[in-house]
Symmetry: C2
Subunit: 268 residues, 2 copies
């Protein structure tokens, strides 16, 4: 298989995974300390939230990555990229679901991934308030709190499939694709909408049949493909756009293969 | 004010609340033990889930209520009513969000309420997996893990209001009111859909601006009116139907008063 990742040895991949796990540990410490002492919340110019904790986590993780791998790149939600031309890119959303974090809803999470030439090598989603972490490395499987994930995805009656959706706001944020939300919501009425990476975690561990993430930034999806694929599921990128003044926005469906095809057909 | 509840003394209300808290403690013990040893999951004839833990919790709580208050009624999701003509009715959903409980999604909860002549006197929602409990008693305020709840409901820009919705499946389960889901989802695109009482908890503590619960059974809403009203919010019942072969189904909106009126107008 012509995949650049196959040129990277197992022990090297394991070392990157170990580093990602240390980053997630550190993010959890910073986030828990911030929650304990109270968080300063602001709305960004685009209306989304940022807190003092988001900045603190990203600053800390960037420093750790660049101290260990000075020639690797770092792409994060809150700060400008470092080494943008590097083959290895650490991609992070220090707190995904900042709005929920700000309101003390525990499904927020820290997303971390290492990509090599555009392909995911390591992926971690950590939920500090739920004591829940999923992680995967290319060829090494997916894990939930240290236990191998092998989702059963039990047979679900038609119409009862458990599908995680983006909110309608995602479908109208950059352009009006609201009709696509309506079509998916109609076709899969047993949906949940969490607005955080917790939805991706649920798919990776088999607690949901499939997920739809619509018009989000690369860091929102950076860990999800590997988590789902290493758990035995399928991941399909259904849109990849470059928007002036915004940057790259991605849309994807992932989970149980038969469902992924049906959802992708609705969105393409 | 012509409210039958005003005829009940404060110390009597406090005793009922204390009993409800003991019931919630017991439910938490049974649920945690069941999770630890594994749960048997079945689909009911209507397609919804029931587990061995649902039955075990309801059986245990019924016995505790009737041992303490033999002339009170008990209405629960899983078993036939006891003393249906009594003025005092304990209403319970032993595990609300059984499907999520079965898949280990931690937002499920135990709903408990005591109604007096149809009016809520005590309400508790307990989330064993989140170590989170909200409780309220008539005239005595709402509490979250023992601390008084006074939601700030900060000013939210138009279009960004945080609204908890029922899934579209709720709007089409008994009759096709899907157009109402579509209208609400369009008007309030920053929605979340949890499919459990965790949505009501979020409204009561001010983590969401408002909630919509559509076509659910009385036990699903039994605690919510009191929790929201005692926290300073508003609760509006927008539909109250008796369906042959099903029973009473209710629809309600609740939360920040200005939003409740706008949501109710969309649904009526």
């Amino acid at each position: 298989m012509n995949d650049a990742r196959n040129g990277i040895g197992r022990s090297e991949t394991e070392a990157y995974l170990a580093h990602a796990m240390e980053l997630a540990d550190e993010a959890r410490r910073v986030i828990r300390a911030a929650r304990a002492r109270g968080v300063r919340i602001e709305r960004k110019p685009d209306g989304t939230f940022v807190t003092s904790a988001d900045i603190e986590v990203e600053t800390r993780l960037r420093a750790l990555v660049l101290a260990r791998y000075p020639d690797h790149g770092v792409i994060g939600e809150e700060q400008a990229p470092s080494n943008p031309g590097a083959d290895f890119q650490w991609i992070m959303d220090p707190i995904d679901g900042t709005e929920d974090f700000a309101f003390d809803i525990p499904t927020f999470g820290c997303i971390l991934a290492l990509h090599y030439r555009g392909q995911p090598l390591v992926g971690v989603i950590d939920h500090p308030a739920l004591d829940l972490r999923v992680n995967a490395a290319y060829g090494l499987g997916a894990y939930r709190n240290g236990e191998r994930v092998r989702p059963a995805w039990p047979a679900t009656p038609a119409g009862a499939e458990r599908v995680m959706l983006s909110a309608r706001a995602n479908f109208t944020r950059y352009m009006d694709d609201g009709h696509l939300f309506d079509a998916v919501a109609r076709a899969f009425p047993n949906h949940r909408i969490y607005r955080t990476c917790f939805a991706h975690t649920c798919v990776a561990i088999g607690a949901a049949d499939a997920g739809v993430e619509y018009h989000d930034r690369p860091w929102d999806l950076a860990a999800s493909r590997l988590l789902v694929e290493e758990a035995g599921g399928q991941f399909a990128l259904v849109r990849d756009l470059a928007l002036p003044g915004v940057g790259r926005i991605l849309s994807a469906v992932f989970g149980r293969p038969a469902l992924v095809e049906r959802l992708a057909a609705l969105l393409r």
